[in-house]
């Protein structure tokens, strides 16, 4: 969803909406669908560890069957991502199929395939929205994270969309320690191209776990971000990303709720259904759309989602006066930093998450269950010309593997003949 607004409370309300959502709906409000793990970039923080196509990817016909189900369930729209979804040969066929079946599409792209011709085609449809990823307001800041040349590619796509008359496409920024100071500059870029700015939280998911320690905003930056978001209100979208910051004071616009398995979920390229896009791990896998019962069966009957919809206590946070506003923060952020799910978020604004992290000591946080990274990624993301970059970070894993943890098959990769 791009904006959430409430019609004012009518008489005899059924209860607080957030409580209703906590217990789950018969169908998701929206969902994220990663169409492919293939990607022409190798962003250091990729939450799906994308790079190589998975040979078991859903076929065109299987994707269409999922769309049919979404239509029956009245899911208004899907957020399509990847990987880079436009590299799928049937991408436009699937977009057309979805919109013809009244399932709106918003897709995320690095912009590499948004040619002037594609931009004109997109501008002509009311049912397709585009989200261009950009993680720095300058090439220096962006390209260290997303790869050399990726800033120019994204800006080129924005120019094409603007030239085609596409008003209000989204520019999607993952907030990092290096780009918090560029919030006004991002807004200026959005204004220049007639776009809307969308800011989301860096998660320690996928390859994001490798860089989280170095890139997640500092405590002072979180405050800066909160104040900036409050000042810009509904002009700037957040996908409800920063509800953990609500403990600073007034809630940010949005539901301020973790919707994982309750009102949102993720379908991955091979049809596995996870509680949310930031939780690609067996722990959060509810089922697969290929199983009997399909997606609806997973959504309505899986043990995991049933469990997530149970009323929760605040656990270690229950005595905190801010629990009602932050609700303990992000499940995935806790999980992938090794914190208990019923305790504080690692970025708890009271600093309780940092204390918990310190207590963990050398314990290794869970690793993602899947990794489709191309094996060259470590070297390819190093800034090739450090003197041109203002970002003095080298992206190394946050905790070095101990020798005894070394898998004998590490660095061995069968030739990806099917990719």
């Amino acid at each position: 969803m791009t904006l959430v607004e409430d019609a004012p409370p009518a008489p005899a309300p059924v209860g607080k909406l957030v409580d209703q959502f906590q217990l789950g709906l018969d169908a998701p409000i929206c969902l994220t669908w990663e169409l492919t793990y293939a990607c022409n970039l190798a962003c250091v923080h990729c939450l799906s560890s994308s790079g190589r196509r998975d040979p078991d990817e859903l076929s065109t016909e299987e994707c269409k069957a999922v769309i049919d189900e979404l239509q029956r369930m009245q899911v208004f729209y899907v957020n399509i991502g990847g990987g880079e979804p436009t590299v799928r040969r049937d991408f436009w066929e699937l977009v057309d199929y979805a919109t013809a079946h009244h399932v709106g599409v918003k897709f995320s792209t690095n912009g590499s395939r948004i040619t002037p011709e594609v931009a004109r085609r997109l501008a002509a449809s009311d049912y397709v929205d585009v989200q261009i990823s950009l993680d720095g307001a300058t090439a220096a800041v962006n390209d260290v994270v997303r790869g050399e040349g990726s800033y120019a590619t994204a800006i080129g796509a924005m120019q094409n969309l603007n030239d085609a008359g596409f008003v209000g496409f989204k520019i999607s920024v993952v907030i990092t320690r290096e780009n918090v100071s560029q919030l006004d500059a991002f807004k200026a870029i959005a204004d220049q191209y007639g776009a809307q700015l969308r800011l989301t939280r860096l998660r320690p998911s996928g390859r994001g776990a490798d860089v989280w320690d170095q890139l997640h905003p500092t405590a002072a930056q979180q405050r800066e971000l909160y104040d900036w978001l409050m000042a810009h209100g509904e002009q700037v979208l957040t996908g409800d990303s920063f509800f953990h910051l609500a403990a600073f004071g007034e809630a940010l616009p949005g539901l301020n709720l973790c919707g994982a398995g309750r009102v949102v979920c993720l379908i991955d390229p091979v049809g596995d259904v996870y509680a949310c896009p930031f939780a690609i791990h067996d722990e959060f896998k509810a089922g697969n759309v290929r199983a009997e019962g399909g997606f609806a069966g997973v959504w309505r009957q899986s043990d995991l989602f049933t469990e997530l919809r149970q009323p929760t206590s605040g656990g270690a946070c229950s005595s905190c006066g801010h629990y009602d506003s932050c609700r303990g923060g992000c499940m995935a952020a806790k999980f992938f930093t090794g914190l208990p799910l019923d305790g504080p978020d690692p970025e708890c604004v009271r600093g309780l998450g940092e204390l918990s992290l310190a207590e963990l000591g050398d314990a290794m946080p869970p690793k993602p269950s899947l990794d489709h990274s191309r094996i060259t990624r470590r070297t390819s993301v190093e800034p090739s010309a450090p003197e041109q970059s203002s970002v003095a970070v080298a992206f190394t894993p946050r905790r070095p593997d101990r020798a005894c943890d070394e898998n004998p098959l590490a660095n061995f990769e069968p030739s990806p003949s099917s990719c």
């Binding site: 004012p8 309300p13 059924v14 909406l17 709906l25 208004f76």
Partner: protein, 100 residues
């Protein structure tokens, strides 16, 4: 993307005929309904089954106030429903009908 919804948004007059925007889809829920506008890509929550009944019947009623009465809204409760409908009108979810 269409910008027509914004220009369609107008002051709400409950004595006029209204209808759900053709670009809006409704999904009934236990609390009322979700309403999604494909043009503006905005999601709204109709927070009561009565409000859903009103919105669904708007297009068949001579005026918004008639739609409210038909759904059983009392005079005392009328102002809060008018406020809810005005919010939906402001975001283009419902539009004034030119011909009834």
């Amino acid at each position: 993307m269409s910008t027509t919804a914004a220009s369609e948004a107008m002051a709400f007059d409950n004595g006029r005929p209204w209808a759900l925007s053709p670009q809006v889809a409704l999904r009934p829920e236990s609390f009322g309904a979700l309403a999604y506008h494909f043009g503006t890509r905005r999601l709204s929550f109709l927070k009561s089954p009565t409000l859903l009944a009103i919105v669904e019947s708007l297009g068949d009623q001579p005026s918004a106030v008639d739609a409210c009465r038909a759904a059983g809204v009392s005079d005392e409760a009328m102002p809060s429903y008018e406020k809810a409908l005005a919010t939906l009108a402001a975001s283009g979810m419902i539009c004034e009908r030119t011909a009834s």
